[in-house]
Subunit: 264 residues, 3 copies
Amino acid sequence: MTLVTVAQKYRQQSPLVFCLTNTVVTNFTANVLLASGAAPAMTNLPGEAGPFAAVASAVLVNLGTPSTEQLRAMDEAVRGATKAGTPWVLDPVAVGALPVRTEFARKILAQHPTLIRGNASEILALAGYQSTGRGVDAQDTVSAAISAGRELAQNYGSVVAISGAADAIIDATRTTLVHSNGIGLTGITGGGCALGAVCAGMLAITDDPFEATIAAHGMYGLAAENALALSRGPGSFASAFLDELSLFAPEELLNLRLQEANHA
Amino acid sequence: MTLVTVAQKYRQQSPLVFCLTNTVVTNFTANVLLASGAAPAMTNLPGEAGPFAAVASAVLVNLGTPSTEQLRAMDEAVRGATKAGTPWVLDPVAVGALPVRTEFARKILAQHPTLIRGNASEILALAGYQSTGRGVDAQDTVSAAISAGRELAQNYGSVVAISGAADAIIDATRTTLVHSNGIGLTGITGGGCALGAVCAGMLAITDDPFEATIAAHGMYGLAAENALALSRGPGSFASAFLDELSLFAPEELLNLRLQEANHA
Amino acid sequence: MTLVTVAQKYRQQSPLVFCLTNTVVTNFTANVLLASGAAPAMTNLPGEAGPFAAVASAVLVNLGTPSTEQLRAMDEAVRGATKAGTPWVLDPVAVGALPVRTEFARKILAQHPTLIRGNASEILALAGYQSTGRGVDAQDTVSAAISAGRELAQNYGSVVAISGAADAIIDATRTTLVHSNGIGLTGITGGGCALGAVCAGMLAITDDPFEATIAAHGMYGLAAENALALSRGPGSFASAFLDELSLFAPEELLNLRLQEANHA
């Protein structure tokens, strides 16, 4: 499929994205999914998470603010998704900086996430390298994390997306850089977290997770560019971003600036 | 009282609405209550929920994202409310689609909620019928759920409100349809959840829960219509909706389009 | 330092503020921190909270909606902060009105918060006096709580900030009133909670917590005044407030209206 077709089908099919995510971004994530054309749903309860992962279109596991009970639900959701063949996204928020989630993230890697999406510091840490992240902020550049991303892609069969000035989308053999002006997204909380949810939705649309991830980053990044032109600060940006996601025309993806590189 | 008088008293008395609600909509719900003229308060802790339900003006129990601990607090809150005569609202989010909350919702029905507010699929499922909801989305029409709503109203002495293209307000003997253009509310998360909180506040104003529920739906729906005219997408709608709730004049309820039907 | 210098350094250093806060205001608090120039981070997990409090620039403990697990994490965070010399803020939300948090707040007072920030009813209750708060609303005036604030300041070596029509900043020997038109902040949820987070960030900038607290209240209050002029209700205010925080020029603090009073 072309990226335009993927985005069109996303709107038509409205994938049901089951999000196990952090308490800071629940509302923004749900609103981003709705604005983009998908349907959000959340539960963090063991006994519900497993069965729901089996019927949802896709699952997002975001490690931002786990509780003990949510970690159990995440474990259940990942097993449910894997068993049912539901695509799932791992967002390893603050992995490397905080211990409990770091151990948990390494454990569920063994379940082969369809996509791993994080910033450079998180991807480096998840792959076992030294990173310099503090909390949720990346202190490493995207280019410094690409080889770590490739290792994760090769070891776990996952697509890896690294958010930064340009976003790198990586699989076992390819790296594509997606260029957009995402500066507005760095001024609000949840810019990366909600992107993970949109990626999850796109994974439900096409069997090619590499293409799905590029489509998600493209739609998200271009909507952010559109919103930036209409905003005077982070408050008006957040509002305009939801508007622009809902007004986004799939054909705009024809203008997406992509840069492809084969792995060395 | 007339609907206008109910809304005026709501503003004057600023009912304290104790919300046990889901993590996706806490912020929006609190802001909706404030904008409408009420006072929000939340705790999900056993040991606090029971005593607080006894002193609050009204209680909202929304099953969107329960934790094990929150379910215990909800159980305590419902008992505290019942014992103290505090009106309470049950919002059976995703009942029918997810198992733990479904069982819990059926259990606390025995405590006779003053109001049950949900979408058509949730009302059907709560009444024991087959529904086709997926997650939080209704896949059934309001009209298909009216007889199920009437059964709940008759069996538990509750008012039942079903949200949809037109909202149906039902008690043991009457059904009133409240018409408003709520399309903006379907584009953001929490549109229904926050309405449940406003309903709870209105229940504290008048001894007639049927009238209170119509007043809440009327104020909410008309403010949403006003906001829609000022918005270009879900981000600007959410912002305009809070503005319009705060600017809402109770006299606007004179223009509310109601349609009454006796039960067959 | 002058207040202008404190605010300039805050922007330059971007303190990492670890927030253990309530589920209603997580998103707004993180966005306020980002807009003001700081970096937010959250975890509520025992095993993560202690180590993170030791490396963060400052810690906020806000008791708005504690879970049993979050209370354990808060206890751990406070001990970690104290041991590492990290400044920390206690926001005793609804203390006096709700029992579990009241007992917990009194317990962690023994760890000497750098700053205690609350409304008049909460400060009175924390100091052991009768208050008339209901839920999160203050029913007492700031002036009625100043002597209680002074007692807390003297007994625990803390700065105490009482939010109201004018905000009172108190230490063992001084009281300064910070005047600004914060009426917009009373129309949205989290206005006080997010201020506590900004205060925490400022505490990381200067060794003088009294000055830091005045700088935080000044920046916050003046940004709220600027936003009020641009808004037509609470929705547009919330958006404009984040914009104005991000556009705030530290030099605006030269116009801050302060009123100093020695203790009797």
